[in-house]
Symmetry: C2
Subunit: 368 residues, 2 copies
């Protein structure tokens, strides 16, 4: 007996036509290790937006109830060749109630419970999810538990990565985001220093308000001076960037190198021996990353993604991280939302252009 | 009793005036662990050129016997603030005869011998060198031994790095250089696959002539196809680049990702899980490195330098590498030179503009 319900799909044709629509879908019975979840809340994360719309032209798109047809510009249309013609589900994470389960003990134990899950089609009335990845929410509501995975595990993953690499301080860009606020709380709890880089005074105030010690504003005239001072005080030669494109990573490397060089006594043609490392974990800016030859050869730029990180970290670390998230879901790992939308409301011009802008602190929650 | 002789110095003033000149210099008596070497041959490596001239305007410089006065353009003049006003010696490596030694047994044992050394002022008639870093040349001439350090140890360092990181194949850019030719011989001896990227047919022919299996020409219309095929056959997701600026590293990452994606069955918005790693070890192009968001988050770009590599690798590895160089100095690790110049000839317009162009296979040897 299969279940039917509404779900959002995104389809990119080879000619660049992107169709995002709400459609009826049939959900199979769960396999032994799976559960069927009636979805009640799902956040729209930047990583969902990349798949949902990418850089498609939403301003000049055609809108009809439950449907958007937009044009994907080049080179992105050709670049996403791997998805041409495929009708893809969307929505990394969400929360809901388990209404059916496969035969395994682990899956059966979840029946009737509220869980956070990562089904990959969370923008849907129903979803099949792996029982092993479900987090039983206990007393926590679905709305409070909807963002229990991506942001909390990513922010904790940064702290874990820092410790694994012997670092005691982190630089974080676009630091006033939900994730950035969590990272501040984690670093305060764990005794890690954190340099927050933001671009507005109100973001400085927000982060100072939750106890951030180092917040530097890239719009200030003395930004580089502020940044160098903070690096000098914390020895932060390691950081995370969700922007990707542009010159901000380059700017951070320069500031790190300038601090390192200021501590050298002799001139070295190769720059300092200080190793400097930045991870790009998002693509808020889809332009190219520009790296100038201004900081010698002691630099590393790498991508960072949650799934491969968890695979490398191992089950024990992951279980420990998940327990910490569950224990602190309404405090350290609480998310806030600007608006709640249904599946249909999610595809109106007003909503789509607003949440696609990804303004700091203006996340949407989908309640299917 | 100190020794006097001629030596080349490079001085950059804060206003961007660069003076490179031959001057009389006095060399102190060697300390216990040091030797005094009468220099007979020293190669002009790209790493020397960065300090000697950098991107100074040699075309419109003033030339007088044994002296060049040139203008350093911005942002390089300000960027090299650390050296403003300092009269710096030049010349990483060379070979000569030990004419005096400090009191230590190791230093004394070298008296009267021809040695390769890394004094940092090899463009000089005399140089003080650490005895521990000297390589006794035995029957090998100073000209054959002059390049025994930088290129051989760097090429061996690439193979060592590949093995340390579990890689069985290497991509190498600007691969027809002296160093690139050595790397071909090393990889053949060690059973590592090597993809050589060059930009001229004559460089393809040169490398094929020394047994290279994979040589791809970036000037060919089907370059990307050639590169993908070679990566597909070798599983080379790891490489070294001496160019630095521009888009070639980006191009290699793209080709690696396209090969990895072609082996995937499902579309993944984040690209492949294949880790791709490139090291920049030189700056033949001083422009910015451009990285496009075309290969997911499974990439790492890092700087590579010989000195920190050797420090990390440890004494045992270094001794093994040096023995291999010495045993094969006229075969695997042989260097060839386009021209020989004296210290004064090195500072003529004709010579300086020629060797500063760093054309593949056109290295100069200084015979002080």
């Amino acid at each position: 007996m299969s279940t039917t319900g509404k779900q959002i799909f995104t389809t990119l044709e080879a000619d660049g036509t992107l169709t995002v629509e709400v459609a009826e879908s049939t959900f199979p019975d769960p396999k032994p290790t799976q559960v069927l979840v009636r979805m009640e809340a799902a956040p729209i994360n930047p990583s969902d937006l990349a798949l949902l719309f990418g850089p498609a032209d939403l301003e000049n798109a055609q809108y009809s109830p439950g449907k958007i047809v937009a044009k994907m510009p080049e080179p992105f249309a050709s670049g996403a060749k791997g998805r041409h013609g495929q009708r893809l589900p969307v929505g990394n994470e969400g929360a809901g109630t388990v209404i059916a389960a496969g035969d395994s003990e682990m899956a059966q134990a979840l029946v009737g419970q509220r869980v956070a899950c990562v089904p990959g089609n969370a923008f849907s009335q129903y979803a099949i999810a792996e029982a092993a990845m479900c987090l039983p929410l206990g007393d926590v509501s679905c709305e409070d538990g909807a963002s229990a995975f991506v942001n909390p595990m990513t922010a904790l993953g940064f702290a874990e990565t820092a410790r694994m690499e012997g670092q005691k301080a982190i630089v974080h860009l676009a630091a006033a985001s939900n994730l950035g606020q969590m990272l501040n709380k984690i670093c305060q709890e764990d005794g890690l220093e954190l340099i927050n880089i933001v671009r507005k005074q109100e973001q400085v105030d927000l982060l100072k308000g939750i106890g951030a010690k180092y917040v530097v504003n890239s719009s200030d005239d003395d930004f580089m001076h502020q940044l160098r001072s903070a690096i000098d005080e914390t020895d932060a030669f390691f950081g995370f960037d969700p922007i990707g494109g542009g010159t901000m990573v380059d700017t951070v490397f320069k500031a790190m190198e300038q601090v390192a060089v200021s501590k050298m006594t002799d001139y070295n043609r190769y720059g300092s021996n200080q190793q400097k490392k930045m991870y790009i974990y998002g693509r808020l800016d889809l332009g190219p990353t520009i790296l100038t030859p201004s900081y010698g050869f002691g630099f590393t730029l790498s991508g960072w993604l949650l799934t491969p990180f968890l695979a490398n970290a191992g089950m024990e670390t992951m279980v420990r991280m998940r327990k910490r998230v569950l224990d602190n879901l309404t405090t350290t790992f609480a998310s806030s939302y600007k608006a709640k939308v249904s599946l249909e409301e999610m595809l109106t011009k007003e909503a789509a252009t607003d949440y696609r802008a990804m303004h700091t602190g203006e996340k949407y929650l989908v309640t299917p």
